[in-house]
């Protein structure tokens, strides 16, 4: 019964979404909020229905209703963890890592020597597995958020670097020639041509990094942490079978990550408004 209800709701939401997406309000703000929300609601309802119907034990996957109850039960705890992991660990690591990657990209791009020398090595640093560096960085930078930020720095560095380097090569020949006729200096060309042309790529990297930052900060807590933080709570919760609390943390992570990503995407739309992908009618 619960399954049928859930399936029904899901199909209904699907239909509604198609209707909204093809209606003439599809570009309005309410429609753009409604569609993903409806989609998400449908998933939640389906999840609830499936869990109830198949009587999945709560210690494996609790229904969303229980997760919601857990969220309501422990707002203070969730806030404390959020501050520790997202505000301190992820955010500072993200800023440092993206900044460093960007500067490195410019450095690499500036000098053919470094392009040939550093970029290939950058490729090798690409996959320093987080589980390998986390224990080392915890041992170097201590248990608190500093080591988490360091892990995030390492994690976000590569995607931003690759995209920034690619982006800096993106301006077309005529655009560059124009700058040459002005006798523009390297920095002027960089500032006025190559950076704007690189933005679509750079933001690609920044968006991917925004989700990696969160994953990095959380996973790093597995290798040592104070007794707070989302990763700490999740791993401890799994061990204690407080799976509802685990999912409450995941929900917070999801909201935080989405907002984080959304902010980056918002800035992107403002900065690269001229790119065809944002000029759709």
């Amino acid at each position: 019964m619960s399954l049928l209800l859930a399936l029904g709701f899901w199909l209904g939401a699907w239909g509604a979404n198609i209707a909204i997406a093809n209606s003439r309000w599809r570009r309005s703000l309410p429609a753009r909020v409604a569609v993903p929300v409806l989609f998400g609601l449908a998933l939640l309802v389906l999840w609830e229905g499936l869990v109830r119907f198949f009587e999945v034990p709560g210690v494996i996957l609790p229904p969303p209703s229980e997760v919601w109850a857990a969220i309501q039960r422990s707002p203070d705890l969730l806030w404390e963890d959020f501050r520790q992991t997202v505000l301190k660990g992820a955010l500072s690591g993200y800023l440092i890592g993206c900044g460093a990657a960007f500067l490195t990209a410019i450095l690499i791009d500036r000098s053919p020597f470094l392009t040939k020398g550093l970029l290939p090595i950058g490729n090798f640093v690409a996959a320093l597995p987080i589980v390998g560096i986390a224990p080392i960085l915890v041992s170097w930078y201590g248990f608190d958020w500093h080591s988490k930020a360091a892990v995030v720095v390492v994690m976000v560095f590569f995607p931003v670097l690759i995209n920034a380097v690619q982006g800096l090569r993106e301006s077309d020949t005529m655009q560059r020639d124009l700058m040459r006729t002005y006798g523009a200096s390297y920095w002027q060309t960089l500032l006025k041509l190559r950076l704007p042309a690189a933005m679509p790529f750079l933001f690609n990297g920044l968006k991917i990094a925004s989700t990696l930052a969160l994953i990095g900060a959380i996973v790093a807590e597995y290798f040592g942490s104070p007794t707070r933080g989302m990763g700490f709570r999740i791993s401890t919760g799994v061990g204690r079978l407080s799976i509802d609390l685990v999912w409450a943390e995941i929900a917070v992570a999801a909201v935080a990550g989405t907002v984080f990503y959304g902010v980056v995407a918002f800035i992107e739309a403002r900065v690269t408004f001229w790119h065809p992908s944002h000029r759709r009618k």
């Binding site: 210690v59 248990f143 290798f223 104070p226 007794t227 791993s235 061990g239 799976i243």
Partner: protein, 309 residues
Amino acid sequence: QDEVTLQLKWVTQAQFAGYYVALEQGFYEDEGLDVTILPGGPDIAPTQVIAGGGADVIVEWMPAALAAREKGLPLVNIAQPFKSSGMMLTCWKDVGIETPEDLDNRTLGVWFFGNEYPFLSWMSHLGYATDGAAEGSVEVLKQGFNVDPLLQRQADCISTMTYNEFGQVLDAGVSEDELVNFKYEDQGVATLEDGLYVLEENLEDPAFVDKMARFVRASMQGWKWAEENPEEAAMIVLDYDETGAQTEAHQIRMMGEIAKLTSGSDGRLDEADYQRTVDTLLAGGSDPVITAEPEGAFTHEITDMALTQ
């Protein structure tokens, strides 16, 4: 042949020698069992695996099992190969720690992931809060899998197992007289480790009960063999370690220490030990691990069958 899947609590190492020996020496085969041993790892909660149907029987610590039981996952202890606890708190002597009273206002490394219960009980026993360094309280760090926090003095004390991490500390060149060890066993807050647990509902099936009886019998045979032949047992474990990263020296030492913990048990759960564990956990202070005396959390049925045959 009956199939049995065993989920270990941690990676392949001499801590689980009995099972590997029983597999290697054919004890399981003799009982008509086809046993699959699944190593664990960080993030593998054996309780979750058994709840999801990924295993028939798991190796788990009793606090975690009882906590799971309260959460609605009815685990039942069917055998207890480990008589005593190997958990300790290992501290630097030179920071001025000699007795549990000196732990006040210190930074302590603790394992979480369901392994924190004995520590929390002990702290509430001592009357310490666990929310930061202050008078009457201790600062708790969630420690990772290595002993670096102690060696680098990020913590004054860390959790160790007699058979594992304590050895790591010594391997790092630290001599025993630089350290102070608080064994949970000595502090009267020892809880039972490494028992075998199954789901309660399965015990209604006589075929399953019979299978488990054979499993426990063969496993205990493995444990006794391992106690008598620690070096060979360590080598067997080494053979099963697919990471190839374990060393002979480590495993032989671990086997020696493990033998001390298993030697007192024939597999039967000692009800006094059980009661002590439950009392310790119930006394958990503000945040007790379990809130009520568990019912039916163990059974002698299996060990009775296994041992009387």
